[in-house]
Point group: C2
Chain length 100, copies 2
């Protein structure tokens, strides 16, 4: 059973994920992603879905045309856990990979 | 340019889509879909994404594990148009098709 991070641990972890922010109301970490169009937004969502299924940890997320908003929280732990931090880092890495 | 439906037209169309409801706050028609797990929820989302791209009309939608919520509105028309009604019907038909 994964445990919720203490506030200091969470803030330290978030310092390494500068594009994610702590949403206190949702008790989650969130990031919004913009793409040129729906096709590219959904292609990204497909990559995130495969990652989430592999990790057994799934986002709460929404899409409106070219915008994707992802919210990560560990419901079983009642807050943000190391699983959320790890998944956020992996999602960020998806976007770093440019075609060769 | 597609036009917003008058209230009576919208209500008549919605009578044929009993699982969709008019969300006055969102100025949209919405439906929530439940699946056995994330994999099946995302498979459905992929089908909806292909349909939306083909129709050139895209949903505002969210997913949380096995639940998908779809909201359809025609932003250019400032409300619900025939395009939303048509897409809602096509989305419903995706779920009617059982494997042979």
């Amino acid at each position: 059973m994964v445990e919720k991070l203490a506030s200091a641990e969470r803030d330290e972890a978030l310092a390494k994920l500068p594009q994610w922010r702590h949403d206190a109301a949702e008790n989650a970490i969130t990031r919004e992603f913009g793409f040129p169009d729906f096709s590219r937004a959904f292609a990204f969502m497909t990559q995130v879905a495969l990652l989430a299924e592999k990790e057994g940890h799934h986002p709460d997320w929404s899409n409106s045309y070219s915008t994707v908003r992802i919210s990560l929280s560990t419901h079983d732990a009642g807050g943000i856990s190391a699983k959320d931090i790890a998944l956020a880092g992996e999602i960020d890495r998806l976007l770093e990979r440019a075609p060769a």
